[in-house]
C-alpha cells in the first residue's frame, strides 16, 4: 500500500501546515505581548500618581453631574443585490432533430458592473430526423434518449449598457451582453462536453426585475449518426429574472 503511506504522510504534513502558519510570528508575538504589558504597567503607575495629586487638590464635589449620553450608532447591514435567479422559455434547434421548445432555470452572480457569472439548466425533447420521417417506421432513439438536457457555466460581459425609453417619461436600465462558457449536454443516452456562446439583451422594468432575450449556440461533438462531427444547437429564449 505504497500509495496509502504516501497519502498518510502528505496528510500529516498538510495538517501540520495551518498550525505552523498560526505560530509563524510566535517569538515576535511574545515580545509584543511583553512590551504591551510593560506599557500597561507604566500607564497604571502614571494614573495612580495623577489620582493622588487630584485627591490632594480636593476639589469640591459638583452640584450637578453632567449626564451626556453618547449617541450609539447601530450600523445596519447593507443588503447586497448581486444575485439574479429566473426562468426561461424558447426554442432550440437540435441539429438533425428539428427545432423544439425548451425551458430552463438560470442563476447569475454580478461580480462587477461589467462581468457576471451565469449558470443555466435547460431541457428540450428532440423530434424526429428527416431519415426517420421519410423511412417510415424507423426509430433511431428511444423516447427517453430523445430527452435533451444541458447545463452550462458561463462568464458574461455587459458590452453595451444603457437605457431604453418608453414614451417620454419612462427610462429602463438595459444592457446587451456576451456570454461564453462550458458545460455538458445529455442526449441520446450519453453526456457530452459542450461549449456555449452567445449574447442577449436585458431590460429592467424595476431594479429588482429583469426581462432577457438571449440567443446561444451549444456546440458539442457527437458520433450519433455514424460519423463524428461537431453539432451546433442554436437556442433562442425569453426569460424573466429577479434580483436578490
Amino acid at each position: 500500500m505504497e500509495t496509502g503511506i504516501r497519502v498518510l504522510l502528505l496528510t500529516a504534513a498538510l495538517m501540520a501546515l495551518p498550525g505552523c502558519a498560526s505560530v509563524r510570528n510566535w517569538f515576535h508575538h511574545r515580545s509584543e505581548v511583553r512590551q504591551a504589558q510593560a506599557e500597561a504597567k507604566e500607564e497604571a503607575a502614571q494614573q495612580d500618581a495623577q489620582d493622588a495629586q487630584q485627591d490632594a487638590d480636593a476639589t469640591p464635589p459638583r452640584v450637578v453631574e453632567p449626564e451626556v449620553e453618547r449617541r450609539k450608532i447601530k450600523v445596519p447591514k447593507i443588503r447586497s443585490s448581486n444575485v439574479e435567479i429566473g426562468l426561461q422559455y424558447g426554442f432550440i434547434s437540435i441539429e438533425d432533430f428539428g427545432t423544439q421548445s425548451t425551458y430552463g432555470l438560470n442563476a447569475a452572480y454580478h461580480v462587477t458592473e461589467d462581468f457576471f457569472f451565469l449558470g443555466e439548466y435547460g431541457r428540450a425533447y428532440a423530434g424526429r430526423t428527416s431519415f426517420e420521417t421519410l423511412g417510415g417506421n424507423i426509430q433511431l432513439l428511444t423516447s427517453a434518449e430523445r430527452q435533451f438536457t444541458y447545463y452550462d457555466l458561463s462568464l458574461g460581459y455587459n458590452l453595451l449598457p444603457g437605457e431604453a425609453f418608453i414614451g417620454r417619461g419612462i427610462a429602463l436600465t438595459s444592457a446587451f451582453y456576451f456570454l461564453g462558457g462550458i458545460g455538458a449536454t445529455k442526449f441520446a443516452g450519453d453526456d457530452r462536453f459542450t461549449v456555449n456562446f452567445g449574447g442577449g439583451y436585458r431590460v429592467l422594468p424595476a431594479d429588482w426585475l429583469a426581462i432577457h432575450i438571449q440567443v446561444q449556440d451549444h456546440v458539442f461533438r457527437t458520433d450519433l449518426l455514424g460519423v463524428s462531427k461537431l453539432t451546433n444547437n442554436m437556442e433562442a429564449t425569453i426569460g424573466t429574472t429577479v434580483y436578490f
Binding site: M1, T3, G4, V7, L10, T11, L14, M15, L17, P18, A21, R71, I73, V75, P76, I78, R79, S80, S81, N82, Y109, H110, V111, T112, E113, F115, F117, G119, L153, L155, N158, P161, G162, E163, A171, T173, G181, I182, G183, A184, D190, D191, R192, F193, D207, W208, V242, Y243, F244
Partner: protein
C-alpha cells in the same frame, strides 16, 4: 409565529380554514387555494426592496454626491445630494449603492463617492471594496474550472468559505466526460493558502469526496458505482483585477474501491474565480 401584517398570513388563512371545516373540494376552493399558493410564491419571489425598514444613514462630506439613473459608469447624473445632507443606503449592487436622499429621490451612487461619506458619529463609512486587500482576506470564493480528470474532460465549479485569511473550507462539484466513462465528483476539504498577501499565491488542499462513475455500455463492467475518495493537492491563485483571480490546481485522488487495489486518479484544472 407569523408577525402581524405578514403578507403570508393571508396565504395561510385559506389553508387553515380549509383544514378546520373539511371544506368541499369544489373547483372554486381549489382555485382559491391555487391563488393563495401563487400569492405566497409571489411574496417569496419579490425581494425585500419595497419593505420599509431601517436603512443606514450616511452624510455627504464632499461638495456633492452624484446620483445616477443606473448602476453603471455611463448612466446620466440626474440629481445630487449636497454637502452635510444625509442619504439612506438602501442596498448595493456590484460597486454601486442605491441611496435615497432626504427629499425622497432615489438614485445610484458610485463606490468611490460613497467612500467620502460619514456615519452620524462622524466616522467614515467603511465597506468591502473588492480590491487587492479583499483578495488577501475575504469570506467567500466561487469559480468555474475546465480540466482533466484521469484522462476525461472535466467541467467543475467550487465554492469556499474562509475561516481566516489562510484556511478555507471548500466544496467542489464536477462532471467528467471521457471515452470510456462519464461521472460526477464531489469533494469537501480544506484549502490552505500559504502566503495570502502575494499576488501569485500557492495553496495546498486536503479533503475527501465521492465519485460516481457510469462506464459506457460497451465495456466489460457496465454497472454504475459510487466510491469514496480522498485527495491531496496544491495549486496557484493569480490575482487579476477587482474581484477576479485565476486558479490552477492539481489534485491527487485515491479512490477506495472494493476491489484488490485502490485507484489513483490525477485531476488537473484551470479556472476563473471571484471572491466576495
Amino acid at each position: 409565529m407569523p408577525q402581524p401584517g405578514n403578507p403570508c398570513d393571508a396565504c395561510v388563512a385559506p389553508f387553515a380554514a380549509g383544514n378546520a371545516a373539511h371544506v368541499r373540494k369544489t373547483a372554486a376552493g381549489r382555485f382559491s387555494n391555487g391563488l393563495a399558493i401563487l400569492l405566497c410564491l409571489l411574496v417569496l419571489a419579490t425581494p425585500a426592496v419595497s419593505r420599509e425598514k431601517e436603512y443606514l444613514q450616511v452624510f455627504v462630506t464632499a461638495p456633492y454626491l452624484e446620483l445616477r439613473s443606473g448602476p453603471g459608469r455611463g448612466f446620466p447624473v440626474f440629481n445630487v445630494a449636497e454637502r452635510n445632507e444625509s442619504v439612506r443606503v438602501l442596498y448595493r449592487r456590484t460597486d454601486w449603492f442605491k441611496v435615497r436622499t432626504e427629499k425622497g429621490v432615489e438614485g445610484w451612487a458610485a463606490q468611490r463617492d460613497m467612500l467620502r461619506t460619514v456615519l452620524a458619529d462622524g466616522t467614515p463609512f467603511k465597506f468591502d471594496l473588492g480590491d487587492r486587500a479583499g483578495f488577501t482576506s475575504h469570506n467567500f470564493e466561487m469559480g468555474v474550472f475546465a480540466g482533466d480528470y484521469g484522462g476525461a474532460t472535466l467541467v467543475s465549479g467550487y465554492g469556499s468559505y474562509s475561516l481566516n485569511s489562510q484556511l478555507a473550507v471548500e466544496l467542489a462539484v464536477g462532471q467528467f466526460l471521457g471515452k470510456f466513462d462519464n461521472g460526477v465528483t464531489g469533494d469537501l476539504g480544506f484549502t490552505h493558502v500559504l502566503v495570502p498577501e502575494w499576488r501569485i499565491s500557492p495553496f495546498l488542499m486536503l479533503g475527501t469526496g465521492l465519485v460516481h462513475v457510469s462506464p459506457k455500455a460497451t465495456l466489460v463492467e457496465p454497472s454504475d458505482r459510487t466510491e469514496q475518495t480522498a485527495y491531496v493537492g496544491g495549486g496557484l491563485r493569480f490575482y487579476l483585477t477587482r474581484r477576479f483571480f485565476l486558479r490552477a490546481e492539481y489534485k491527487s485522488h485515491v479512490v477506495f474501491t472494493n476491489r484488490n487495489a485502490n485507484e489513483k486518479v490525477d485531476e488537473w484544472k484551470l479556472g476563473f474565480a471571484f471572491f466576495f
